[in-house]
């Protein structure tokens, strides 16, 4: 959200969902300005037809949600979600904001990003913490937990975490979002071909759509998840 030019591009990328980010790609000093831009960005991006999510920091939930909960917002991604209580609190805040700002009650969805061991440990409770939880994802767990490639090119621990998440999501009745990345791919640098393979593998184990960080990755993801058709691009 600190790069206005990217918002316009994102709107044209063809993603089913666009995620406006206030956490990963915004440095601290730019956050207040980024928050101020969200309302206009929502209008720009939602006009393009896709759903719009915002990625927020649960430790700044009040400020981030106040900046994001405007007409046009479909849902939020909770970065580094770790506790069910975080989700219930965010859900309550959203309820208040929906009422104040004339959004339909209960419509803003929540996708907890389980990027830490603690978050994964409580994945089931987190996924069940609110009716608003629509999906779960590992987000950038490999980076946050510092998991690196094994000789097989699998990222250490990720095969276990991915399959566990898919079972947890199924048990909790929410959508598992992700792709099965392997070394040397990494979100920011993965080529369209590797992105397609990661999505194809992800789909084969039960993921139903994924998030990506570059516009060039949207088309291969849409292609790989053709019948389930859920992709999201960060802006």
């Amino acid at each position: 959200m600190s790069k206005p030019a990217e918002i316009d591009h994102a709107a044209k990328a063809g993603a089913d969902v666009i995620v406006l980010d206030l956490v990963e790609f915004v440095v601290d000093k730019d956050k207040p300005a980024a928050r101020e831009r969200v309302r206009n960005a929502l209008a720009t991006v939602s006009g393009a037809g896709g759903e719009v999510f915002a990625q927020i920091d649960p430790h700044a939930a009040g400020a981030d949600l106040a900046a994001c909960a405007w007409p046009g917002l479909s849902g939020i991604v909770v970065s580094r979600a770790e506790k069910p209580q975080q989700i219930t609190e965010i859900s309550a805040l959203l309820g208040r904001l929906e009422k104040e700002r004339g959004l339909a009650k209960g419509t803003v969805k929540i996708v907890p990003a389980l990027e830490t061991a603690q978050g994964n440990h409580e994945a089931y409770e987190i996924a069940r913490a609110s009716e608003r939880v629509w999906g779960v994802t590992l987000g950038r767990a490999d980076l946050v937990m510092d998991l690196r490639p094994e000789p097989s090119d699998e990222i250490h621990l990720m095969p276990y975490l991915m399959q566990r998440l898919i079972i947890v999501a199924g048990a909790a009745g929410v959508t598992p979002i992700g792709a099965w990345w392997r070394a040397p791919d990494r979100g920011l640098l993965a080529t369209p071909e590797n992105t397609f393979e990661a999505a194809r593998r992800g789909r084969a184990i039960g993921f139903q759509g994924t998030m990506c960080v570059k516009r060039s990755q949207v088309e291969p993801l849409n292609r790989a998840y053709a019948s389930t058709a859920r992709t999201a691009s960060h802006g």
Binding site: S2, K3, E24, F25, V26, V27, K29, D30, A117, Q118, N120, H121, R140, L143, V144, M145, D146, L147, R148, P149, E150, P151, S152, I155, H156, L157, P159, Y160, L161, R164, R186, L188, L189
Partner: protein, 316 residues
């Protein structure tokens, strides 16, 4: 996390076999496990207990930390026999319930007090070697603050026997047990003890090349702790494989220099020669430099200890 220990390599030695115990200090291990369990015949268990107090300074005189492995079914009498000054950790095999760890903690706490050992210093290594243990990993790992490192055995003999599988196959049989234990360790902020799967279809326990490959693979995927071995031939491979190389250190320093360029800007990442430099990469680099320094200090400590022993021997 508490103070990080450098525990890359170790050997498990039957305490009843004097030639193994007497030579253990020469092997370059970061730790030596004085074994009362599976390598000691049943009829020698009582004799074995009487040997531990002297074995502790014996195995650690080359700078290794002295650990012991006690018997699951003789927790009380074994623990009485092993808690002496110099002992750093007790390995409790086939841990299945948190209550076992709590009981062991209580016994150690009492003995530390009685025997003039600083309270809370002796660690517990709660080994997960059965299905029941895997099912209870989290409760076990948080049952005592003495549990500071945790993981499930990779290709362990006991877990294989419990699950009824042949070992030494060409695929990874323990994705789930290892994953459960590692998730518990990371959730609780404990040191992670695991290893990536590297097939061992021969079952060899003394292949130095395999030991090196396995340890290098572990280091490259971010792991720091070794599981130890049974044969002196694997010690060097574990030490070398888990120590950052000169290239690793050089690379980490350049990552930090590159990351410093982002400071004060609005950018969160930069691509340099096909590689992303961001806060995660910088964090990795800092950790690696810390670890490299710790390894160097540990190596020096062991060299000095060995030199002291050799000088002492010459004087005599």
């Amino acid at each position: 996390m508490a103070e990080r220990k450098v525990r890359r390599s170790g050997l498990t030695m039957p305490v009843v076999t004097p030639r193994f115990v007497d030579n253990a200090w020469r092997r370059g291990c970061d730790f030596v496990v004085i074994d009362l369990e599976d390598s000691v015949p049943q009829h020698l268990k009582a004799h074995a207990r009487s040997l531990v107090k002297d074995a502790i300074p014996n195995v650690s005189k080359g700078g290794a930390e002295a650990f012991t492995r006690i018997n699951h079914d003789h927790m009380v009498e074994d623990t009485e026999a092993v808690v002496w000054p110099g002992l750093k950790r007790i390995k409790y095999p086939k841990t299945e319930h948190a209550s076992e760890v709590r009981q062991l903690d209580e016994i150690i706490t009492r003995l530390e007090k009685e025997r003039g050992i600083e309270p809370g210093t002796i660690e517990i290594d709660a080994s997960i070697e059965t299905a029941v243990g895997v099912a209870n990993v989290l409760a076990i790992a948080r049952a005592s603050p003495r549990v500071r490192e945790f993981g499930a055995t990779t290709g362990g003999y006991d877990l294989s026997r419990d699950l009824g599988v042949e070992m030494f196959v060409d695929f990874d049989q323990f994705v789930y047990p290892r994953g459960e234990a590692e998730l518990a360790a990371r959730t609780l902020g404990l040191g992670v003890r695991t290893a990536p799967f590297v097939a061992n279809t021969t079952g060899s326990v003394s292949d130095p090349n395999r030991a090196l490959r396995q340890a290098e693979a572990a280091r490259r995927c971010g792991l720091r702790l070794g599981g130890g071995g049974l044969n002196p031939a694997v010690v060097d491979g574990h030490n070398v494989g888990l120590t950052p190389t000169g290239d690793d250190v050089h690379d980490a320093k350049s990552v930090l220099e590159e990351y410093a360029m982002l400071e004060g800007t609005s950018e969160t990442w930069i691509e340099i020669e096909g590689r992303v430099i961001d806060r995660y990469e910088a964090e990795r680099a800092r950790e690696l430099l810390d670890w490299a320094a710790l390894c160097a200090a540990r190596n020096k400590e062991k060299e000095e200890a060995v030199a002291r022993v050799q000088q002492g021997t010459e004087k005599k």
